[in-house]
Every structure is written in C-alpha cells, then in structure tokens.
Symmetry: C2
Subunit: 361 residues, 2 copies
C-alpha cells in the first residue's frame, strides 16, 4: 500500500549532518517542511534544522524516537548501516529504499546488478584474496584499479596496479578487504546524470553534467556536458532505467565514463550514488528546481519539479584552503557563492562551492 | 571607527521570528553564517536558525547574552523598541541603525524627514486631538486617511474619513493616539524599490516592483513595474538618496505611489520600510542575488551582490487559506513555491508565496 504524502508543516528525517543534509534541510524549509537531522557527529546541517539527534546509528532508543518524530526518512550518504535502515523502515518509509542502499553499498553487487540490466560497466572481477587478484589481473590486464567493495568515496579505498606493481602489496594497502578489480577504462570525459524518481514512478533528470576531478575529488562541473545529443539522451535513459529497476524514490546520481572509439562515443557506468550529488549543486542557482528540492518532493510523495536549466553552467568546488577566496567570489557579479559553515578547512574537505550561470549560446 | 567585517562561520543576530527572519537566516546559511533569532514569540524562523532566544525585548539579561553571541544585530520589523535597539547598539553594531529605526517608526517624523530632503509625500498634517483633526480636514479636504503615527502595518491603524463621516469617531476608533492625516492621493499604481546600502556607502537596487494589494495586504508583485524609464530611474535614485541621508546599512524598501497627471507621471513616497520587504520576495528565484542575501552581505560589511533580474517576474502571496493551493502550485512547471512553515492559516496571515520567472519580451 502506498504511504500518504506528507503535508507542509510535517517533518522529514535525514541521516547525516554534512553539507548534503544541510542543503536538503534548506530546500525542505523553503517548502514549509521541518527537518530532523540524525547523526553520530555534529555537522553543518545541525545549524539549519528544526531538531537534531546526536546518537550512534546503533542506538535503537534514539532511532525509535527519531522515527516517531518524522514522516519519512532519507539520508545524505550511501553507507547507512543496513540494520539502521531496516530498523527505521519498520517504522517509517525510508526513501530511497533498502534495495537501493544494499546495491550501491557494494561495488560487486552494483556492477552485477547493472550488467544484469544490460548496462555496461568497466570490466571487473571479484577479489577476495591475493590469488583471485592475481587471476583477475591476468584477465583484465594492467593498469587496473583495485577498489574495496564497500565504504569507498572520493578516491578512498582505491589502489591503481600498474605494470610491475606488487599485487599483494596493493591488496594489503586496502586492508585485505573484499574488493573488485576494475579493468582500466580509457575515457575522454567523466559525466553524471542527476535524476529523480517519484513515488508514482515519474522520472525527471537534469541535463548531463561534465565533471573534472583533482586528487579523486570533484573540482569542477560544466553543464551541458560536451557530448552528442544521442549520448546525452542515452545517459538519461540509462539513469531512468536504473531508477525504475531499483523501484527508487528520490534523487539518484549515476556517474559515467564517456569512451570515444572509432569516431563515436559510448557510456560506461562508473558508479551509482543513491542521493543528491556534488555535480548537481549548480541546480540551486541554475535550474527551475534544485536537486535538493527535487529530492524533498520525491520523498514526500509530491510531484517532481521542472529540471529546466537557466543557462550554461560552471560550478566549482571550494576544497580546503580554496574557500579562503570567498571575498573575491563575493565581489564577482553573477557568481553565486555557497559556504557550508564548516569550522576547519582541512585539506581535501569540501568547504563550499560557487556557480556561474551564463547566457546560452 | 568602522567595525571589522564578519567572517564565514560567524553568527548574525536577528530580532523577530517571522518569515522575513526565516528567509534572512536561510540566506545567511548559504554563505556559511550562523543565525541567532531573538523573539518573545516562537515563529517559523526558529526552525532554520542555529540558536534562538525566546525572551521579552525588555529582558536585558537575555539581550546581553544575545549580543555577546553575535557579530552584528539586525531585525525583520521596524517596531523594535528604541530602548532594545539602544541596549544592543552599545554592545554590537545594529544595522540598519538607530536613526533609520526612529524615523521609520513614526509617520510624522518620516514624512517630515522626507520633505526635508525635498522628496514628495502625500500632503499631511499632525493630529493630536479632535480639534487638530478637524482643522487638518479643512486644509486637506475629504476623503483623507487618518493613520496612527506608530505601529501601523498592513492597513492596521488606519481609517478613511469621507464626506459626512464623523471625524471624532474616526479618531476614537484609532484609540485617540497621536496620528497624521494624509490627503488623498489619486494614484495610478503602487510601486516599491528594494535597495541596499553597504557599510562602504555603495548602493544597489533591484528593478522597480509594481504591487497590487487586497484588503491592505500585498497580493501580487510584477517586475518590471509599468513605468517609464525616467520614472524608474527617479524612484531608484530617490531610494538611494533616502538611504544615504539615513547613513543606512542593509536592505531598505521605499513604497511609492505613481501619480499620472497631464500625460506624465511622478512619484509620491508612501512609506519607508527599514528592512527586507514582501515585494522583494521574487528576488530569491528571479535575481542574481536575493534581497535576503543582499541584506546579509550589507550588515556583515561584505560587498553588495548583483541585483540583475533573470526575466519578467510575477510573484503572488498566499494569504490564509490561499496556501491550500500548494499541491496545484507544486505541479505547475516554472513556479517556485515557498511556504513559511506556519502552523495555522488564519485569515490575513501570510503563509507563503510563489514566483514565476518568464522570458523577457
């Protein structure tokens, strides 16, 4: 049975207190909704929510009180512990649901799921020990990328294995955890699709984003991506197909590689993020509906908004000390500055972003 | 000596917990600032701020703690008690300052100030008793509008005196308070200018708004106003002149009547609001910088942002039960819906607004 839609004045629950939770809370507030943030660590989302709970994800008493106080539960990160999600799902709708979380938490499951839908990924092999790693390297060749199956983000939990590298050392450097080995994909560009699926199965996607990374962290996004219309349409269609297969509710992001071969291009899925995404931050200033509002609409059982883009987009992340440039960015006409209210500008920490919306043409 | 500018991570203090304080807090959060709301009554701003204080404006202990916790104090409404403002100003910059508050709290002082700058208002006379009211009616004629000098808003504290009306009854209906009588202005349109003045004296204004009222409450705003370029420039110049004369810091709104005579038009000032204004809500979705961010920039000692408009604007208020239309508004592509998170849709209560940004031309 479908759940009743939330009403303005109701409360949404968000697991995680980082900048994504913060921006979801701010989008919810625009629509007259309250937010209750749940996190074991204080973070910048605590400053903009009606209520927060500082408790462990294993604290069932705190989780029960949290669930009682909200109409729907969502999260800002994919590594929500499965027992936490299951505990909450017994009490309130958790959106996106358990299947999306389970599949996107494990690189092996995710790639197997995608290939099962006929959607291409990098060639990959399961690695449980050095012997299976050696065998995988024989098949996939070098260079190849060894990744832990679980808990990787922003390049963490990854090791490149090049010709002459010691495979055993690479496996040990990742803590001898279950891994996947990915064959190297020689890609021309990295792109992403930020889409959303409603409770009613409706689907809407923002225009395809083109992303540049530095040290495995997103550095800059331009929209529209420099891809053919056919490829853009295929990227969006693929995202919709993935969302439908997961019976997904909320914003979903699919990171893709664009491979150019023989004068045409094709997409290869890198990974799925079951959440709002850094490459979609431009939508706050550059689209009719932001990805954060779109997520709120979806999880509340409300109609999706228009993803229409206002112009050509450039979005830049402010990583660590880059945020020190805030006075210059404030002075630049047409630049929208966003700072996340984090106290310490540690190296590699996402402190804010800026967006420039330029006329089309 | 000028005060040092605030830094991201610092806290701004806002007096008042309504929707204006709420939207200022949300704009501050975008820029990495925290907000501390101070109000004797809980309101929707409490749900989006880092800290709030629920205390009377006369509670000096609470005011002192509030001042200690913030880098600058501002307010969402002009009726801040003068002793409260003075108490806070001894501890922290209060922006806009005491002079702007004092003048805009009293219709007699405000009109006298404006006329002193050579800026036209409706003809007016001071009314302290029935005798002075009768004399003023002789001079200004009927119909005329009797208004309390202090604490009027949204048509409260006003009475129209038409031919045959009992002047004494009108004076008594307003509580026999000090009043001004305003001669009737036969205006073609009501317009407003939302401008901002920085600590450095810089000034920026959004394009002139044209406003429709129902039952003395703003109903709809369109931008640009249907006025000549000359009149629009004069309206903005006048606003800048007023702001400079008040040594103003923050967003200032000047409500004006457009009078058409002998084929040309001229402006007559209705009143000054020393704050962000309902007729500027469209700037959240329709301008490069919102009025709320502009106010935050100004009071923090930061550079003003670009007031550039994105297109033709329609903004509509959702008053009382009009907010029940939220599901339809959510479904309309290109409409940005804002709800203020108020619990009760009482008659005449501002529950939210919507903005539509249309292509120019």
């Amino acid at each position: 049975m479908s759940q009743p839609a939330l009403q303005p004045g109701d409360t949404i629950g968000i697991l995680g207190s980082g900048q994504l939770g913060r921006m979801i809370a701010m989008a919810a507030a625009r629509l007259g909704l309250k937010t209750h943030i749940y996190c074991p660590d204080p973070g910048p989302a605590f400053d903009v929510c009606a209520t927060f709970t500082l408790a462990a994800y294993e604290d069932e008493k705190a989780l029960a009180a949290f669930a009682d106080s909200v109409g729907v539960v969502s999260y800002e990160f994919e590594n929500v512990p499965a027992p936490t999600a299951a505990f909450l799902a017994a009490r309130r709708p958790v959106r996106p649901g358990a299947r999306a979380l389970a599949i996107t938490q494990d690189r092996w499951d995710e790639k197997t799921f995608l290939n099962g839908l006929g959607i291409p990924t990098a060639p990959f092999a399961r690695v449980d020990n050095v012997a299976s790693l050696e065998a995988a390297l024989e098949t996939l060749g070098r260079p190849a990328v060894l990744k832990t199956r679980r808990f990787g983000y922003d390049g963490k939990g990854q090791a490149i294995i090049r010709a002459g590298d010691d495979a055993g050392a690479a496996f040990r450097s990742l803590g001898e955890q279950p891994c996947v080995l990915e064959g190297f994909v020689s890609f021309a560009r990295e792109i992403s699709v930020v889409g959303a699926r409603g409770v009613d199965g409706s689907f809407a996607a923002f225009d395809v984003c083109e992303n540049e990374h530095e040290h495995h962290i997103l550095s800059r996004t331009i929209v529209p991506a420099q891809v053919s219309e056919t490829t853009a349409a295929a990227a969006i269609e693929t995202t919709g197909k993935i969302a439908a297969a997961l019976d997904y509710v909320g914003v979903i992001t699919v990171e893709m590689f664009l491979v150019e071969e023989n004068g045409s291009d094709r997409i290869v899925i890198n990974e799925i993020a079951p959440r709002v995404h850094n490459s979609g931050h431009w939508t706050i200033d550059g689209a009719a509906t932001s990805q954060f509002e779109q997520h709120v609409r979806a999880i509340c059982g409300w109609p999706l908004g228009s993803p229409r883009r206002h112009g050509r987009i450039e979005m830049g992340n402010l990583i660590g000390a880059q945020a020190d440039a805030w006075p210059e960015l404030l002075r630049e006409p047409g630049v929208a500055l966003h700072l996340y209210g984090k106290h310490e500008a540690r190296a590699g920490r996402k402190m804010g972003h800026w967006t420039r919306v330029l006329p089309e043409g």
